[in-house]
Symmetry: C2
Subunit: 670 residues, 2 copies
């Protein structure tokens, strides 16, 4: 049976795609980067979905099935040994290529994990680097660790070569533990590799001064980490707490969700498909509640983490963790009972190697339901009759590791038609060496000799709505104090609610002082109770926008961070807030800023809503050695979409497994 058009490309299909590409490029070396599903054009998909919904459940219609396509990204290396970056689309059923682009030199292909390995190898072979390392006196038992990073925004006027940079640390191997935390021992140099030559071409020397020291002065001693101390996090190197009793979450009758075809999920009137790709990680498709469509697609579209330390080369510490190398590529293989508690369903992804050979990336997405406290309650005080139901959520989650940092991404659907997207930031803050006894304006000292630099994390959620249909209008709604007026407001308590439709593609900001809420409406469908157009709404988290100066490379690369909310007119394949190519970019191209500049009509159209939000992170000592999760949420809620609380029919049955405490922990009440 042919796979559902939204289903993740599997191992067999990936092999077919690879073979097609190889057959298109005989007699040259092809270095693959990515092969993944090329999602169907929406116009085709809409027809298919209509049929799917009209079919009997379980049936997957065959007619109107869009062609099954794969996107292939690869370098072609000709006789001159200079890689040329190509993107192709192949038709897996017809077994031929249907689109082919040679990407010009102004853009860089996303990085691969094996390119990172090249940097590590290049450092080992580089006399320049060995010489620089020899200037530092490391204690016995400490070994070098090189952590590859993207190069960041190329300085204006630089040659547009492909570079990688390596952050360097010393690892305490005296205990023989390969998980000893080497971030506790940062070294003040960054080797820079030319990726095509696979050679270290420069060593950037890092300043290690504090307040009052210049931006570039070299002030450190050669005994560079003597003033540092260990900062372990693996339990075998710590005294862990012994008094935590287990909390078990069980579902003796099984979970309430159903998964079919490794992609279709049904739970409590929700129905959607989930897929995985190496750039976005987990994506939700065709999300509907009780047979009514809500979203066509939901995904994390990009994120950037600019560092604010002005000392060169730290302005080039600015990764785009989706565009640079793919969040899906960095997805953790989740562990039962550790990452996920309860009754768990895992989904796998597929990734490839440089030969294009696929392998399963297991357990990268987890699915489970969970209790989140009280859902709704009312007590009639006259009778004492209380009715209370629980706030239950279905969680679709994936976790990515980018060198030092971790991000936990979750989509949570609730019983009352709400969709919450959540990000948790955790992992290890990025650190550099600081001279003993000094403090800095550029960050916080979190361990001896370790400065955690100030930075921001800015995420962008992409919401492709289909509020009971594909033609929607976004509006924003504010509440304002009304003027005193004997006829209309004699007691000064009235406030006005103002609605402003967004008629052209544009950027907008949060305005919590006006309670500005964005509503994605279907102007053609009116709620029969209220008379308002049906909608879903959200209040964009009013987080601080990018602090880098306008015109700086950091700011120019991340124009998506200039506004909290962007409304664009849908175009196939326009999935990335900062554009297709972020690696080493100097300016954001083809991102939301360029999209809205097209000034298209967004009124009663197929629109896309993008929400940028984040965190200005000035680290605290408690963030070391691993930071407790910082949690961010975007809450999409129905707004006159339903004719009553959709969770009013949730049963209020008592949970029989709950018990009162026993005497072992609490003396009996008198």
């Amino acid at each position: 049976m042919a796979p559902h058009p939204f289903k993740t490309l599997d191992v067999n299909e990936t092999n077919v795609a690879r073979d097609i590409i190889l057959s298109c490029h005989p007699d040259v070396v092809v270095d693959f980067r990515e092969i993944f599903l090329q999602e169907p054009k929406k116009e085709l998909m809409k027809q298919y979905l209509e049929l799917e919904y009209a079919s009997r459940p379980g049936q997957s219609p065959n007619s109107k099935r869009p062609p099954r396509l794969a996107k292939c990204q690869y370098d072609v290396i000709g006789k001159d040994r200079i890689p040329e970056y190509h993107e192709s689309v192949v038709d897996l059923e017809a077994k031929k290529r249907v689109k082919h682009e040679v990407i010009g030199k102004e853009h860089h292909a996303s990085l691969t994990l094996w390119e990172f390995q090249h940097l590590i190898e290049a450092c080992k072979k580089s006399e320049m680097f060995q010489k620089a390392m020899a200037e530092l006196k490391l204690p016995d038992g400490f070994e070098l660790v090189v952590e590859p990073w993207p190069y960041g925004g190329l300085d204006l006027g630089s040659e547009n070569n492909r570079y990688f940079q390596g952050l360097c640390f010393a690892q305490d191997m005296r205990n023989g533990n390969a998980d000893s935390n080497f971030y506790a021992y940062p070294l003040p140099l960054i080797p820079v590799m030319d990726a095509h030559k696979k050679e270290v071409v420069r060593i950037d020397r890092l300043a290690t001064g504090g307040k009052g020291d210049s931006l570039t002065g070299q002030t450190h001693s050669e005994r560079i980490i003597d003033h540092c101390q260990s900062g372990e996090y693996v339990p075998e190197m710590l005294e862990t707490r012994k008094d935590m009793k287990p909390i078990n979450i069980t579902q003796p009758d099984g979970p309430s969700f159903k998964v079919s075809d490794e992609s279709l999920v049904e739970w409590q009137k929700w129905r959607f498909r989930v897929s995985f790709n190496p750039r976005e990680g987990a994506v939700l498709h065709d999300v509907s509640y009780d047979g009514r469509s809500v979203l066509y697609r939901l995904s994390f579209s990009e994120m950037t983490v600019p560092y604010a330390d002005p000392r060169p080369p730290f302005h080039r510490k600015q990764a785009f963790d989706f565009g640079d190398g793919g969040a899906g590529n960095c997805a953790n293989n989740l562990a039962l009972g550790c990452d996920c508690l309860g009754v768990i369903k895992y989904f796998d992804g597929v990734v490839i190697d440089s030969e294009g050979k696929p392998k399963v990336h297991p357990n990268v997405i987890c699915l489970h339901e969970q209790d989140n406290g009280i859902g709704w309650k009312h007590t009639n005080w006259r009778t004492g009759r209380a009715v209370v139901t629980r706030y239950r959520e279905l969680v679709i989650q994936f976790i990515i590791t980018l060198a030092n940092y971790e991000y936990v991404f979750a989509y949570k659907l609730d019983l009352a038609g709400g969709i919450t997207t959540e990000v948790r930031a955790t992992g290890i803050v990025s650190v550099v060496n600081i001279d003993p006894g000094k403090t800095s304006e550029y960050g916080n000292v979190v361990s001896g000799g370790v400065l955690a630099q100030n930075h921001q994390h800015i995420f962008c959620l992409r919401i492709d709505p289909a509020i009971d249909g594909h033609k929607n209008t976004v509006l924003h709604e504010e509440s304002h104090t009304a003027p005193w007026d004997q006829t209309t407001n004699p007691n000064g308590n009235f406030y006005q609610v103002r609605k402003t439709p967004i008629t052209r593609s544009s950027g907008h900001d949060a305005a919590p002082e006006h309670n500005r809420i964005f509503k994605i409406t279907n102007p053609s469908k009116i709620n029969p109770i209220s008379g308002n157009p049906i909608a879903y709404k959200f209040a964009p988290p009013p987080t601080q926008k990018l602090l880098a100066s306008p015109g700086s490379i950091q700011a120019q690369r991340a124009l998506f961070a200039k506004h909290h909310v962007w409304v664009t007119k849908y175009r196939d394949d326009e999935l990335f807030a900062a554009g297709r190519f972020t690696l080493q970019s100097q300016v954001e191209k083809g991102g939301v800023s360029d999209m809205v500049a097209r000034n298209e009509s967004t009124e009663n159209e197929d629109v896309v809503v993008w929400n940028s939000f984040g965190l200005t992170h000035n680290p605290r000592v408690e963030d070391w050695p691993v930071m407790p999760c910082d949690i961010f949420q975007v809450n999409l809620r129905p707004s006159d979409f339903f004719t009553k609380n959709p969770a009013i029919d949730v049963p209020s049955t008592k949970n029989e497994a709950s018990v009162l405490v026993g005497k072992e922990c609490c003396a009996e009440k008198l």
Copy 2:
């Protein structure tokens, strides 16, 4: 053994207090309102706590124990039958009164539930009201329900009598179910009772028009609810979902917390006392982590719900749910397995009747620990070694019902030293009748003929910090783009962090565009790693402030809502953001606005921090008939208080009860 000074007053003690008061007022009628613990003066308590901490665990020192006092609030009714409101403090050990105030007529005593009952009785006896009711033609089987409310802000120039108003509804009793939702059938009149005469003195007629209708015109037909429809929420009157499988939360080894003396709670390095009083509900005292003090006291200090419908008398729909009648008095008796899942410890409260006789108000506070997803994680991508721990919280929760609305209040302590206060708003929106076919600028039609009026909920959290000591300084910290400068910021990526100490009592606002964070510091204790003063921080939720016009009675009564953050100098008994007396106030007196006007030094002093936050609630149809919880949180987090992540030693043990899904819900992966 004498009770701990923070412990809730028990039944016996309440009786002793009552007897003392009666002995102080022979030969008159004493109508009691409240009897509860009068907390000790902080200067005395500090000495006691020092001894307590120095004692062996489990010992409760006897020396330096402050006197055990009770606050008594009551009316004295002399021969003229006009109640005079008194507040006294009695010493329960010495068995005598130690303070006595006769409260003047400019203030009203908080209401009691039996005063509400007087209104219901007065309506039954009132010819004026019966006559007004007779003008309405209710269908057979529908019976009147009168819902007593506080009168709201007395109009300027009105006689300062004590009034209550009654919102009227018709209840469908055709099914004989006393929990049929009468809010679905609102009636357009409000009887007003003089509380001392216990007589209905006026009937306010409500407008039922829509857009274009005047503020006072009477447009409704006598068949006033024919156009309304039922809106039931009790499960026996609904078809409930049948496919929700249970989620069980169990702790086979018991919970990790320990409760002693019905007041002392210890959990994962946290140690604190919890008490209950009829005004504030649950209060936390003497909160410390790993032996270091964090907070002296934490409580919800007030809230107000102003309605924005300009048509008289709706400007007087503005309750202060803590000050008007006491949130504790309205606390729900929580049900195991319904309100609280898992292994639960309940605490009781004590309330009195008009004769001052106490009774236990059981299970008003619940305590349990719960899992909240991932706490921290890091994977060393080289070795693949992942270490992940869970985000566990201890929850102290109470729920209050105010007529139609419910609020769930929770204090949550986490493993990483964080304190989260959470409010969930649920229950039934306040509604009035609207003519058939009409819509309104003043709210949303959520059911046939039912208009849910626009309103706000504004809460105020009171944080009495003791950050490793009682002398603290509050500062706010912002992050700002730095100017381009060749020497200090050559690449435009630098941003400056600015700290501003708050040296005098004052009000401040959220400023998320500057990432404004408030830090409560101990300037005398420096973090040895970072060199910064130790602190706890929070970002005040930047919610919309009060929308009623400045100068309106609604705004004047709730000056605490003018700023998000207030910093005041500690004074004993200064617990209430809107002052001691809110019922029928015309202007806030003795609240935070008056406190800061004293312009006291707050630098390195015993300070109190107040955080006002809330929700502008323009109801949606999904809020009917009972609204899904809207959730608000204030996150207090350590900021260089610790020398590393205090949760780094949480074990990362796998939870053995977690399982993979079975085939009954999900086909096996291929």
